[in-house]
Structures are given as C-alpha cells and as structure tokens.
C-alpha cells in the first residue's frame, strides 16, 4: 500500500508534466528579465524567521529539530528565506537583486481538507528602482501565467497605504481592524468599525473602502470619500499603466485589499483563477518587511501556489506525447531519429519492443493516441485510425 500523509501530494504522469511546464515557463519568463534562480534550504532555523513572521503565520509552522539539535521549521514560505539571505548583504543602495524560485512549501492546513504542502513559484526584487518595479512584477507574472496556458485570470489590485491612511486617526483600534478584515469577516469588521472610538471621518471611510472594487472609477469614488486624491496617486499610475499595456480586462481594483500593515507597504495584489474561490497567489510591495532586516530599500515580489485546480488547467492545455517505436531499426539509427524529433520540439516516449503491433497495443492500452515508427515519417492515430505525415503532425495538423 502506497499511502502518503494527509495533505501531501505526489505529482506524476500528466500532472507531473504540467507542474514542470509551469515551473519552466515561470523561471524562463523571469529569467529573461535577469531574475536568478534561488533554492532555499528545506529546513529553516526558527531563530532566523520567528520574529519576522506575522502571528497568523507562526501558528502554521511545522516544527522539527535538525539532527544537530537546532530548532527548525519546514520551509513555510520562500520570500522570507530570500529576503533574509539577500538583506544581509544589502546596504540599501546598489543594483537591485532579482530572484526567482520554484519549490515546495509546508504549512499546517487551515481547514480539514486543505493541503500541508504546496508547490510555490515566485519572484522577488530587492533594491531601489522606482515604481516601475511594481509594474514589472505584475507584467512578468501575467506573462508567465499566460505561457502556462492560464489566460483567464483576474488580478485584484490594491494598495495597503490607502488603508493605512484611513487608519491614521484610529489609534490602537487599527491593528484589530486589519486582522478582522483579513480574516474575511466583513460583518465583524463593520461591527468593530461602528463600535470603535474613532473619528466619524475615519468611520465613514472604513465603512466604504471594503466595497470599492471595480475599474478606474473606484479611484475617483475613493478620492471623493477621502476628500483627497493623494492616497490614490500611486495606484492610479500603476493601474493606468497596466490598462495601456492591454491588461485592463484582467485587473480589478480592490481598495479594501488588506494585508499586514507592518509587512506590506504599497501596491499589493491577489491572483484568481477561474476554478477556485480563493486566490492562487499574490504579491506586492513589502519595503516594511525589508526594513525589519535593517535595510531601508524597496522590495516587491509575487508568489503563485500551484494547487490542483491550477495544474489541472495547465494539463488540459498540454500536448499529448508521441510514442516513437525504435524496435524496427538498429538502436543507433533509432536514437538519431529520436534526436531529430527532440530538435523539432516534439515530446515523445521511446518504445523498444521488437514487434510494432505489440508496441501499438501497449500505447493504446496506456491511453496514448499517437504512434510513429522511427524508420518512417508517418504518425498513426491509434484512437481513430489513419495516419498523417510527421511534418504536418508536428505543426499541429493532426487530422488523419
């Protein structure tokens, strides 16, 4: 019996291929813009991460002791490992550091059926470089998701500095309010706002902000409620830039988007895929976190959790591999033919049995549709019958 722990997952067959496609697409897109791969250690020292983690995160750590007796946790998040690693060498100035990563992270699940481990893709950009960095992060992320085949996504874009401005006059009530808003209970948030000892001006803004979601018009509405357009300047500039790049249909402004105020510090975003009611990832500016490491600089990042629904969507888009039979010719010739397939960008699996009929039967039983004899140049459709030339097949003309 092959049982794995509840909440954990092994990716194989099509899902494994789809996961690899996601990883490669993401790393390639960010790599082209100078982001360098980073592979953090699986165990993280508690002494390095504890103080930096939000309380809600601390409760979800999976604790272990290393064989050397050091208190550790399984890597709960990669951003923190990247920041702590890079921040130690940063002095605030100099060329921005760019990092991208793809690895598993481990957290105590939030619900009965939630996962313990997820596969996380992400990128971080540390160092002063102006507001273009915010746009770079979002544009590269959209491009990476597109190259995985995830075109039908929505990005909810907000700015935590708007909420911070709204909280300016609320005193000690602010921390509790943000926690409740983050928990998702608008009912409790509005109750707290109504009961809190805060000025009416703040109360009016806080009651409205969570409902301001939509296109650029909500920025005008927000400015009207604040009676001041200044808190919305950065977000408007970022939004207008994304719209002019043609991403307007994927961006929804969300002025109530809340994150830990001591961690995030500017534009933030959540990413939604069609098959899930919760975000598959997000990101944003976290200068405040970097400051906790003693570095006053700019930090922006993003991360996507490749949950089952996302990988499923990718695997639906993926090409089926071709079965390439090499049993009918000397092995060396078969390898040379296989190399030609590889250079043409065709994905294939070698079959070495002596009998072509047996090879086709095995392929059919394995649910594979396309088969070719490496001594020839035809592809046979095992499902519907008939054949098509290899050159046509590789260009997508697969009607036999």
């Amino acid at each position: 019996m092959n049982r794995i722990p509840k909440g954990c997952v092994s990716y194989g067959a099509e899902l494994g291929g789809a996961l690899e496609l996601c990883r490669a697409s993401f790393m390639e897109r960010f790599g082209a813009y100078g982001y360098v791969p980073f592979f953090p250690s699986g165990l993280q020292l508690l002494e390095s991460s504890w103080e930096m983690l939000p309380p809600s995160f601390r409760k979800r750590l999976l604790l272990v002791t290393s064989p050397f007796g050091e208190p550790c946790c399984l890597r709960p998040d990669i951003t923190l490992a990247v920041v702590s690693s890079l921040a130690s060498g940063m002095k605030g100035a100099g060329r921005p550091r760019r990092i991208c990563y793809a690895d598993r992270v481990y957290k105590k699940p939030e619900g009965q059926d939630a996962p313990v481990e997820t596969y996380q893709l992400g990128a971080e950009r540390l160092g002063w470089d102006g507001e273009g960095a915010d746009m770079e992060m979002i544009v590269l992320l959209i491009g990476a998701l597109e190259s995985m085949g995830l075109v039908d996504i929505t990005i909810a874009l907000g700015d935590v500095s708007i909420m911070r401005t709204a909280m300016n006059r609320t005193g000690s009530a602010s921390a509790g309010l943000v926690d409740v808003l983050q928990s998702g209970s608008l009912t409790d948030f509005l109750t707290l706002v109504d009961c809190a000892d805060i000025p009416d001006y703040s109360r009016r803004i806080l009651r409205e902000l969570p409902f301001l979601k939509g296109n650029g018009d909500v920025l005008d509405e927000g400015a009207k409620i604040f009676d001041d357009p200044e808190p919305f300047r950065n977000l408007r500039s970022l939004y207008d830039g994304l719209v002019s790049l043609g991403y307007g249909d994927r961006i929804v402004l969300d002025l109530g988007l809340a994150r830990e105020l001591g961690y995030y510090s500017g534009p933030v975003f959540d990413v939604y895929a069609p098959d899930s009611g919760v975000p598959i990832g997000g990101g944003g500016r976290y200068d405040a976190l970097l400051q906790r490491f003693g570095v006053r600089s700019q930090a922006v990042g993003c991360a996507i959790n490749l949950e089952r629904s996302v990988i499923d969507a990718v695997s639906r888009e993926k090409d089926e591999p071709l079965v390439a039979w090499g049993g009918g010719v000397p092995r060396e010739r078969a390898f040379l033919a296989a190399e030609r397939l590889r250079r043409s960008g065709i994905r294939f699996e070698m079959s070495w049995c002596d009998d072509s009929a047996a090879s086709m039967r095995d392929a059919r039983e394995g649910g594979q549709r396309w088969w070719t004899d490496l001594s020839g140049d035809e592809v046979i459709d095992l499902e519907r019958g008939g054949s098509v030339g290899l050159a046509s097949w590789s260009k997508g003309r697969r009607t036999c």
Partner: protein, 230 residues
C-alpha cells in the same frame, strides 16, 4: 449566471424567505422537491448540507451562499462573511445534566471543578479532564482550551443530547434555539459560547469579479430581509 448555495434542513425556509425578500427568483425553491439544483432567470441555486456550504464557495463552484455562523466558525473556510441576515438566530451553548460538575460550575472564580466524574477521569495531576459530545469539535476544542480545561472531544453527527444521558460524555456543545430539546433530555444550559445566525457569504473571487451584483444582493437582504447592516 450567479450561483447561490443554500443550506438544507432547519434554516432552508429562512434562506428562501431571504432570497424572496431580496427580489431574487425564488419561486421554484419552495417546491424544489428532491432536486438539488434549480436555475431561474440568471441564477443557479444549489441545495447542500449546511456544513458543506463553505466548501462549494471556496472551491469556486458557487459565488455566494447562506451559512450559519456556527458553520463558518467550525470550518474556518477562507471566504467573505458579507452580512448577518438576522435570520436563523440561535446560540452555541455548553450544556450538561443539572448535577454534573464541569469546569464552569465550581464558583464565580472559574476555578477548576472540585469534582469530576467517574472512570478515573476526575483529574490528572490536578488538571481537569472532561468528555464533550458535539457536532462542532473545532469550536468545542477552542472553547475548552481557552479556559485551560482538558477536554476529550467526542465528535457526533447528530442527537448529541443523548451522549450525557448514556454516559458517553459529561456535557455537550451544541446549538440551541428554544432549549426544549435540552430540557427533554435532562440537560441544562451552562454557558453561552456565542450567538449564531445565518450569514450571507461569498467567495473572495466572486466578491472581486462580481462586486456590483453581490453588493446589491447584500443591500437588498440587509434592507428587506430583517438583516443586520452593521
């Protein structure tokens, strides 16, 4: 198409009344019979077990729904609690037989009880240990943990009131509307854990993507359906 998931059972009539009050097409819901899905005028209604309502929303199958705050607390599902509808009002309570000593009965100070019942469960090194039957293991665990009482949670799916009577547990944690079922089974309400009511909830994605429709439903429900717009 906006997909709405509604809880079957005790609160279904309240849910239908809210849908009607909000001006949504609820005509077919009263006579839905054994069907679990109904589509009408741009809305799809799904009927689900109350405890499953959050799952339909989190998974993205439904945009919004009605769920008891007890269910939201128990599941801890990551969704948006949009409004307290003011319907389906009851309370989550701790109840026990009138002569049963539990953590909260030893005096105003809230000290550990003087005596706990049979089976060698009285105390372990001075720490009280009681058995609690409930449909809400998460809520019960948090309640007793926060009071420093060691509780063995017995997860039952119904007829929780039977457990103390049959010696399975010393007390129960359950929702109560009038208290008549408790009384009929020889149980007394000892503490109110929290009030419970029917909440309008939605997925995070739908709140972002369909904000205007969802906001207007929220406003209609809180304005006309005895909702509590706080």
């Amino acid at each position: 198409m906006l997909t709405f998931v509604l809880p079957t059972g005790r609160v279904l009539q309240d849910a239908i009344a809210l849908i009607e009050a909000a001006g949504l097409p609820a005509g077919g819901l009263s006579s839905i019979g054994r069907r679990l899905v109904l589509e009408d005028k741009g809305f799809r209604f799904i009927l689900a077990k109350p405890m499953d309502v959050p799952m339909y929303i989190v998974s993205g199958v439904a945009d919004l729904g009605l769920a008891g705050s007890d269910v939201l607390m128990e599941t801890g599902a990551p969704l948006v609690d949009l409004a307290d509808t003011g319907r389906g009002v009851c309370r989550m309570v701790l109840a026990a037989p009138h002569d049963q000593c539990i953590g909260e009965c030893s005096g105003a100070s809230g000290d550990a009880p003087e005596r706990l019942p049979r089976n060698g469960r009285e105390r372990i090194g001075g720490v009280p240990w009681i058995r609690v039957a409930t449909k809400y293991p998460g809520i019960a665990d948090r309640y007793f943990s926060s009071r420093g009482i060691q509780a063995e949670i017995i997860h039952l799916n119904g007829s929780v009131e039977l457990a103390p009577r049959l010696g399975m547990s010393e007390c129960i944690v359950d929702i109560v509307q009038t208290g008549s079922t408790l009384a009929a089974n020889g149980l007394v309400e000892r503490a109110t854990i929290c009030p419970v009511s029917l909440r309008l909830v939605a997925s995070k994605r739908s709140v972002v993507q369909r904000q205007r429709e969802i906001r207007s439903i929220r406003e209609a429900m809180t304005a006309q359906g005895k909702g509590v717009d706080r």
